[in-house]
């Protein structure tokens, strides 16, 4: 066995195996950086307000009666064209937003 063969078998092959496992271990986590927040830092991002997707499945009984008691009393013919969570702008609702909160909790960190 020549020197080159020895180096190939005992040097290069273990190195390749090592690098292969290293790549498989390290690479999948590279793309996803975590949300950058540390307590005490100021929050400079614009405010966001997320809401759930409207329930479109027919099996959900609650979603359907939710839509009914919404659309029927207040809205006219435009109601059919609107999605469940949507409603046309009502000026009196914006003028006097009555208190809707009934409970909850608060915490600080």
């Amino acid at each position: 066995m020549s020197v080159i063969e020895t180096v190939l078998i005992y040097g290069v092959i273990p190195l390749v195996v090592f690098l292969l496992f290293a790549a498989v271990t390290i690479l999948p986590g590279r793309g996803q950086q975590r949300t950058k927040y540390r307590p005490g830092q100021p929050w400079t991002a614009a405010p966001v307000w997320w809401e759930p997707h409207p329930d479109t499945s027919a099996g959900a009984s609650h979603g359907s009666d939710h839509g009914d008691d919404h659309a029927a009393p207040r809205l006219g013919a435009t109601a059919a064209a609107l999605a469940i969570g949507q409603r046309p702008h009502e000026p009196h609702a914006a003028d006097a937003p009555r208190r809707t909160a009934a409970g909850g909790a608060r915490g600080t960190w």
Partner: protein
């Protein structure tokens, strides 16, 4: 499941002002947004309550600001639950509507707040929200097993 990853185009007329372009380099990565979106949609679908999450500055009186947001949230406000976090002020507010408060009492909210603040203290915003939503939806239960 693919429709749940698209969070744009579902805003009501009241919340559309708060919608930001998520393709930009906001504070949340795509994976985080997908997790948040799935948690929000699944907990709302499971409980029949309408969970919304607000992240941003609140006015100095954070409770009043959160309650005002809840009043403006559109849709069925009595049945909706607002989770408002202000990372800059380090304040978390949960506001429940009249119907939602019967399903989700203040004690359950306080428990969720407790577990959320412990995660928020270590900087894990997304994990806190996802776990808080899960805890609250567990406490609220399923609507079909209840008679109301």
């Amino acid at each position: 499941m693919s429709q749940q990853l698209d969070t744009r185009g579902t805003s009501t007329s009241d919340t559309s002002g708060s919608v930001v372009d998520e393709s930009g380099n906001g504070p949340f990565s795509y994976q985080d947004l997908a997790r948040l979106d799935e948690a929000l949609t699944m907990s709302s679908r499971e409980t029949g309550l309408r969970f919304t999450v607000y992240i941003g500055e609140l006015a100095a009186d954070t409770r009043a600001a959160a309650e005002e947001l809840h009043a403006r949230s559109g849709g069925d406000t009595a049945n909706s639950v607002l989770v408002a976090l202000s990372p800059g002020q380090r304040v978390l507010e949960i506001v429940t509507g009249a119907t939602a408060a019967r399903r989700l009492p203040d004690r359950a909210c306080a428990l969720a707040v407790l577990s959320m603040t412990s995660r928020l203290g270590s900087g894990d915003l997304v994990g806190a929200i996802v776990n808080g939503l899960r805890q609250m939806s567990d406490a609220a239960g399923h609507p079909s097993r209840r008679t109301h």
